[in-house]
Symmetry: C2
Subunit: 613 residues, 2 copies
Amino acid sequence: MAQLIADRRDVDFVLHEQMEAAELAKSDKFAEFDKKTIDLIVTEARNLAIKEILPTQKPGDEGCRFENGQVLVPECFHKVFKVYNEGEWLAMTDDPEWGGQGMPKVISLAANEYFHGANASFMLYQSLSHGAAKLVETYGTKEQKNLYLKKMYAGKWSGTMLLTEPEAGSDVGALTTSAKKNADGTYSITGSKIFISGGEQDMVENIIHPVLARIEGAPEGTRGISLFLVPKYRVKPDGSLGEFNDVVCTGIEEKMGLHGNATCSLTLGGKGQCIGTLLGEENKGMSAMFTMMNEARQFVGLEGFAVSTAAYMHALNYARERIQSRDLADPKGGPVSIIHHPDVRRQLLIMKAYVEGMRSLIYYTGRCWDLASLAASDAERAHYTGLIEVLTPIVKGYITDKALEVTSHGVQIYGGYGYTKEYPVEQLMRDCRIFMIYEGTNGIQAMDLLGRKLGMNKGKTFLDYLGEIRKQIDAAKEIPMTAALAGNMEKVFNRLAETAIQLGKTAMSDKVKFAYAFAHPFLESLGDLTMAWMLLWRAAIAAPKLAKLAGGTDPAAIKAKVESNKEASFYDGQLQTARFFINSMLPITLGRLEAIHNMDGAAVEMLDAAFGG
Amino acid sequence: MAQLIADRRDVDFVLHEQMEAAELAKSDKFAEFDKKTIDLIVTEARNLAIKEILPTQKPGDEGCRFENGQVLVPECFHKVFKVYNEGEWLAMTDDPEWGGQGMPKVISLAANEYFHGANASFMLYQSLSHGAAKLVETYGTKEQKNLYLKKMYAGKWSGTMLLTEPEAGSDVGALTTSAKKNADGTYSITGSKIFISGGEQDMVENIIHPVLARIEGAPEGTRGISLFLVPKYRVKPDGSLGEFNDVVCTGIEEKMGLHGNATCSLTLGGKGQCIGTLLGEENKGMSAMFTMMNEARQFVGLEGFAVSTAAYMHALNYARERIQSRDLADPKGGPVSIIHHPDVRRQLLIMKAYVEGMRSLIYYTGRCWDLASLAASDAERAHYTGLIEVLTPIVKGYITDKALEVTSHGVQIYGGYGYTKEYPVEQLMRDCRIFMIYEGTNGIQAMDLLGRKLGMNKGKTFLDYLGEIRKQIDAAKEIPMTAALAGNMEKVFNRLAETAIQLGKTAMSDKVKFAYAFAHPFLESLGDLTMAWMLLWRAAIAAPKLAKLAGGTDPAAIKAKVESNKEASFYDGQLQTARFFINSMLPITLGRLEAIHNMDGAAVEMLDAAFGG
């Protein structure tokens, strides 16, 4: 039976052999999450994803309906939403005090990979609810937490994020939604928000909107923005629902994809009846928002990855089953399955390399969260949170860029069928295109990397990151089967380190725009190097295990074992994937680093008029 | 007023300054197509495209309906179809004897750029009609031509191409549709075809299907395939319509995009009543098909290009109008239009470079057709047809790959709006994804380049192609403003020439699959080099004109002129675009050529099982 959504063997490989997730159980905090429990959780998540969520993916593509101010989600979402909540999957990693499971993040990511890969539209409702609840947990008063938190983590009430306005997209500081303080300490909110995922829907009895707004008289720009908690229905002190809170959905977007998730326009206080409470401190809304942004951006990266792994599983299964044309090496033979054709293999291997590199990268980021939460010292915690700072734009920006490539290869491998709705790959490609845009466009991720992360702690944070990569290169050099790969990767590593210095210096000179015109190519290059890191790490784990299975490193013995033993072929797949990526993809990265090094200023120096039109 | 679909100044530049289209009027054949006439044709085409065709693009995205075996195209197509036919636009380049305009191909491409950019779905009906008519013109008997040709070129009857079957997609030789000869010399056709664009529609009174089928007893594979002309309604000797010919549409595909064009499944002879006539010779169907394939593939490249130029015009206009965030170089200033942001400029310049390179490449291919048709000797004709052979996989494969990138940048520049149906870019991206697949997937284009074109005429054809590039490099070296660019490009040229030899040799060795695993990267690299060729050529034309306008090459004088004079800024835009592409994009190509040179065999040597799943 072919795997769906994700390759369970690879999920287990990353969890146990690469990230050693069960080791976390040595801590008091995660003591109950031993290997057996981890495996049970993943199995349960996988079952739920495949049996319940996946069947809603295609019907969900029919979209939400907007009728008389109400948003009706795809009918099939209702049942699975209930099942998902009964399983208490929303608050896997959260504090048991508020109904969470207290699970290590790295484990939750394996579960979420299956969930998001099964239906990204459906899961987006959950991600946003989780993000909103986390805001309440982090910044809420005791009263706010008591009123909202358990119901949100239980999925009874959903959550959103009201940030974007028509004239304030990426430039959040330009927003105009206003808050006027009332005598009782609450605020009357007035304004319009757009692009609100799940801003209105019919699966829950209440929707809790964290809203960015400006208190009357507050400073201009981002320094005058505060965060408010605005429920769709007011909440009485006993937790029961009061009257409608004047949050009106005025329409939903028609989009390229992600049709099952309603993208709403909301008007707050159109009748002057929208009441919110301050969440956190006055004028500190942006910093609260940014605290959550890391989680949100990592979620978007996860979405891109999950859709990619689903596309890879589909394309791989199809390539094994679809019979078409003869083998190039056997032109007189009969037609063969298309996985025999070199260009199909090339595409599958690109997909595999990215998907597996993404999986390791995402789980690694989760592991950093977990280790930060267990850190014995401030320095140790700072080390892991620093890594997360650098990882975030890569996880969000690089993964979602590559997700489009991976899903597009998925379409291509299906040929003409891939373009039709008969097969799932075209939907995956349409769904994932938004991930490059929301929670900060990938251009903004690139600016974040260059402008904030490169110079953070006087460059120490970034050097720490490079140090982790360097360690892996050194380790792989000691292993005969990976030594050559490590050497090839090292050239790109060195070039990237030089380029980072050059780029950072330029960004602080009067040629600042020259540097920023290469911010995205630099993000892409660092992402490539990070993929190579993850894949080399995998290969370095696989090599000795393969040698052990084969009783040594004799090539003939290894070949025989690989052909006859499933575990051996899995480990060999790790070595081949690293080999492919480092030898056939990284040279392209080196070329791109050369282009950055040239730092030609055409894009900056060209006059607007010279663009034509 | 912003330009729509295409930048008219650039269209004129390529037609007149780069391709010197009016020079063709020195020949008897094209004597009437002087500069004034060319400009009139382009203006008329542009007006038709913008005023009549473009308004059908968005409503056309609602799709065709399939009701009771009938296909209803979007209602708005009917009127514009009539107008298009009244303008006699279908047969621009064809023989006046059959109703054609006898126009040089290079001019028709400018018109078609506007048409296809205005609505690719609508125009696909026309392209296929033209291709089918051309088959009749080339292979038809006098009787067939008299019966069908004028009506087809006039758009009264449409045409299709019945090639693909469920088990015979890329492997055409596996098809099973059969033809049984009748006593009167006609054939009874039986079979099922899928993915037939415009296979059924309600804009015309008859549809003429060229059908690939196997005559009973014919050899297996491609050598036993014949071509037949199968009308939807039989045609009486006087040209009037007879009875229904048992060509039944059984359904249309639900697709990612191109919704206005019906993709049909057809059953032929389900009731034994489908009659066709042989087109060309028995068992020579494939070679007839391949003759037309070059035109069809060039049309697909044109489609990809046309959608790209439309996306660029939209994104450029939006970037100039959309105000968001401050200028990086003026952090205390007010918000500026997003064209000031380096990452937006980078994306716009990528779009511009590809779009303008594509335009030159496509018009150049048209010019080669024209010059081949005027050739004074066999050798001269062979030179131009040889160039076309090499150009075809680049036009089809490279342009359509890059069209997806260009349209995706278009979506990105619009931010969240780009993902919504409120703006046209998301449709352009969805529409263009199929171009990478149909008329031979881009993987097949890459195989065509490596397997057929590289070794054609013992390599002379390909060397001829490289020779044309070399000439341009040498010429640009003589011009001070382009000499350095030419030098930078030369490095990539030399590396590509070496790689081609290496790849060609490997393809003929027992490592054939190693070579084919790099066929697509090689196509991409040759495409990049070809873009650079076109852009350097443009720059070499622009440089002296800019110097002339500025009264010399003094940088300050040029800068002043560029800032104050529209023509000067256009020419400067040519130089900057070449500079950007050669200095910031071609280094990536060099990296890819390095990867090909490595020729790592991971993709070939990996076992199927090691792909996982």
